[in-house]
């Protein structure tokens, strides 16, 4: 009883009062799926590598990137970046220039000579990859990193597939392509060139392969029946682009007409311009909004002086000229002939009407099924023939380099599982971090860095790269525009805004934890989390 007058209890801390018992719902930290990652055909963890790039740790960013895709410098040039179309920053100001940062990282890695980490152990298994295009090389890379021995066989004289023989140099300089392929051979992948596989099982036996991945692509230009005079010059786009890589450049003449509306049509038209054509006209059956080619490619082609005749088909071709017919779209959106004819002067006509798969190597393989001119595969990317997998343009897919690279990664996982006698079950995807899950107040406005484009006059006459890269300053600026959708970037908001000090800060890189002894479940942390990485859940009873 030595307490002061009127005092009967010891002074205590309010920590004795566990206010967590008031809670009816509780906050939990989650990782939601950023829309960029969700949209990436190659399955890159874009938010993950931007997180490192923001801090200026480009080596870590590159290492994170190449876990999913071995070709950052190529991707940064030729990918149609669906990630940017999905980017939540687009709802705040403009999408983050993901593709530009990817290219910066890829170019930096080439400059710095960064190499892939070798596999931790060898599996003792060997996989044959047929086709050294994006899909085949991607599969080879992932299989090699999993510890399998890989032999890549290609019919062409050089590795790269459509990246070399389909994509013009002004979009993908060959030294970049060579550097990223050289990194694969340095990893121990054997690439055999000028070797056309005619019997897949025989070749598998020859290299003692336990499994095979087929990715020969689709490189046979589709033809259309167009009545043509004997002197008419008709070529297909794939051959034109392929011969750009050989000593004999194609002779297209001064006036070139390209037939088709895909990206290949634009590639060949822009190539013709660079080869000296004065008039390059694309003839397309439908309207611009229905054109399968990407809008920025159309825009760049128009800037370079390529003309496009919409709603037109080619009726017949003669030496020096061809006849086109005006079309009109019917109610279903199908082009219908109008009977209105026009003559165009043309030294050559290039058909860019799509490509077919050369299925020759599959003749006589039991169980293997072909559907609509492509190879049929099951959910594990295996063909009807045990141990033979297929991907890229030769299966049913959207035909882009990035989709091919994604197929290669998926196939590698399935092949790896199959070699171990298991099945690859992808983990269930995280919930999508859609814009309404973010609190955009905390992001300040910043314009997107526009990649400087080559001077128009210079661009039209050379095969120099059209789009230039970012330097370190603006690459960092661009990376920092990332909202980090759905994934904690340690902004301390939850730690700061909790009225009950019920958030524990665990230190750099270790994020936070809730102290449920005191968390009353008010939910301020969840609503003030900029990136939507906190979810309120009903309190378990």
């Amino acid at each position: 009883m030595d307490k002061p007058f009127a005092i009967t209890l010891d002074v205590g801390s309010s920590l004795a009062n566990k206010t967590g018992s008031w809670r009816t719902s509780r906050p939990v930290y989650v990782d939601r799926l950023p829309p960029c990652n969700h949209a990436c055909p190659a399955g890159e963890n874009i938010q993950g590598w931007l997180y490192h790039a923001e801090a200026g740790d480009y080596a870590a960013a590159w290492r994170q990137l190449v876990l999913d895709n071995p070709f950052p410098a190529i991707m940064g040039r030729v990918c149609y970046h669906p990630c940017e179309g999905a980017c939540n920053r687009g709802t705040v100001d403009e999408a983050v220039g993901i593709n530009a940062v990817e290219r910066f990282l890829g170019d930096l890695a080439i400059r710095e000579g960064w190499t892939f980490e070798p596999p931790r152990s060898e599996s003792g298994k060997r996989v044959l990859v047929v086709g050294a295009g994006p899909s085949g090389l991607s599969a080879a890379y992932h299989l090699r990193r999993m510890g399998h021995a890989v032999t890549v066989v290609d019919a062409g004289p050089r590795a790269g597939g459509m990246m070399r023989f389909g994509i013009p140099q002004y979009r993908l300089p060959r030294d970049v392509l060579d550097a990223e392929i050289a990194r694969l051979t340095a990893l121990g992948i054997a690439i055999v060139l000028d070797h056309k596989v005619t019997d897949i099982r025989a070749t598998m036996n020859e290299v003692r392969a336990d499994a095979a991945f087929l990715a020969v692509g689709a490189h046979i230009g589709r033809r259309a029946f167009i009545p043509a005079g004997s002197a008419a010059k008709m070529l297909d786009a794939v051959s034109v682009l392929r011969s750009m890589e050989s000593a004999d450049k194609p002779m297209l003449g001064r006036r070139v007409v390209v037939y088709g509306g895909g990206n290949t049509a634009l590639d060949v038209a822009r190539t013709a311009k660079r080869l000296g054509a004065t008039d390059t006209i694309i003839v397309y059956r439908r309207t611009r909004d229905r054109m399968p080619a990407h809008d920025f490619e159309v825009e760049e082609a128009l800037q370079e002086g390529v003309l496009i005749k919409w709603l037109s088909t080619i009726r017949n071709v003669d030496a020096g000229s061809l006849t086109v017919e005006k079309m009109t779209l019917d109610e279903q959106g199908f082009p219908q002939p109008t009977g209105e004819l026009e003559t165009l002067a043309a030294d050559s006509l290039v058909l860019a009407l799509g490509q077919d798969v050369d299925l020759g190597l599959l003749d006589g393989v039991p169980g293997l099924a072909i559907e609509d001119g492509v190879v049929k595969v099951d959910a594990n990317m295996m063909t009807g023939s045990e141990g033979i997998f297929a991907g890229g343009d030769m299966v049913k897919s959207e035909r882009t380099v990035t989709v091919g690279v994604g197929h290669g990664k998926q196939a590698a996982r399935h092949i790896d599982a199959w070699l171990r006698g298991a099945a690859h079950v992808p983990p269930p995807p995280h919930e999508l971090a859609s814009p309404e899950k973010l609190n955009s107040w905390y992001y300040s406005d910043a314009p997107r860095t526009v990649r400087p484009t080559l001077d128009l006059a210079r661009r039209a006459s050379t095969f120099e790269e059209v789009v230039h890269g970012l330097d370190e300053g603006n690459a960092l600026f661009e990376a920092r525009r990332c909202l980090s959708c759905g994934n904690c970037f340690e902004c301390d908001n939850c730690y700061g805004v909790c009225p009950d000090n019920a958030v524990v800060k665990l230190g750099p890189g270790r994020r936070y934890a809730f102290n449920y002894d005191y968390c009353k479940g008010c939910g301020i942390c969840a609503s003030e989390c900029p990136c939507g990485a906190i979810r309120m859940e009903p309190e378990p009873t």
Binding site: T19, E54, R480, G496, P499, P508, G523, I524
Partner: protein
Amino acid sequence: MHEVKFYQTGTFTVGNRLLPPELRTVQSETGRSNSLNSGHRACQGCGEALGARYAIDAAMRASGRRIIAVNATGCLEVFSTPYPETSWQVPWIHSLFGNAAAVASGVAAAQRALGATDVRVVAQGGDGGTTDIGFGCLSGMFERNDDVLYLCYDNEAYMNTGVQRSSATPPAARTATTPAVGRAPGNVFGTGKNVPAIAMAHRIPYVATASVANLHDLERKVAYATMLHGARYIHVHVPCPLGWGSAPADTVKVARLAVECGLFPLYEAHDGQVTGRTLIRRRAPVSDYLKLQKRFAHLFAPVRDDERLAAIQAIADRNVTELALEGHD
């Protein structure tokens, strides 16, 4: 080359892993003083608990943890210190509802007599204890220019005793004593009692307004005011989910909208002259702010009360014009 800025987090989040630690907020520090600790009995999502920790932690860092806090009666006192427990991790004294400013004046005089020149004295109270009951003592503290920083946490009514109207209750707001009934539901459209302006009229060295929605601004003002000498006054806007009928999760959002719509302007004044204001970033109509609060529900249902909404909007517009809160610095 662009000047590289921290766009991802801007200047708006509590912390930023890309900034050197000394440039981050007090609240982002792992070792912050947590002056108002866990286990206090404030309601879920209490803006006052948040504002008090923000302010006292900032004063603690600015003074090197040499703070004595004097508390008026009110929610803050009741929820933080039910005998024999306390949540305060600072020397803290409570006397009466209306005399916090006078007690603080005395504490400051005692420190001066003891020669403790490094100790800073902070008085804090709610709007009831400041703008009504403690107003005489507050004015006296101002007029004598006593060496006290007075922090008013304004949640716009007597929340502790059951949401009765105070002189800080806004027009049209429903409280227990201003029910939403009759021809003019809710609080009257009076002439207002702008205590920051009254403080400025005393020509004391420093007056500022702050909000729990803008931590950087609040910490800067409190840190600056802590180390200044003479009478100082900071009026902090703190939403009350219980009394305002807003969702506990929306406390910071409601506070932010009060600033962004112009009803709670952020500014500071030296010696009676406005010397700085915080610009509105995304101007919002007052209805965005009001409709999150059930105390204003009668303005929207059963029929929208355009006349009173326009009158409240006019108050916001006047603030924006008078303080030039829109545009760029």
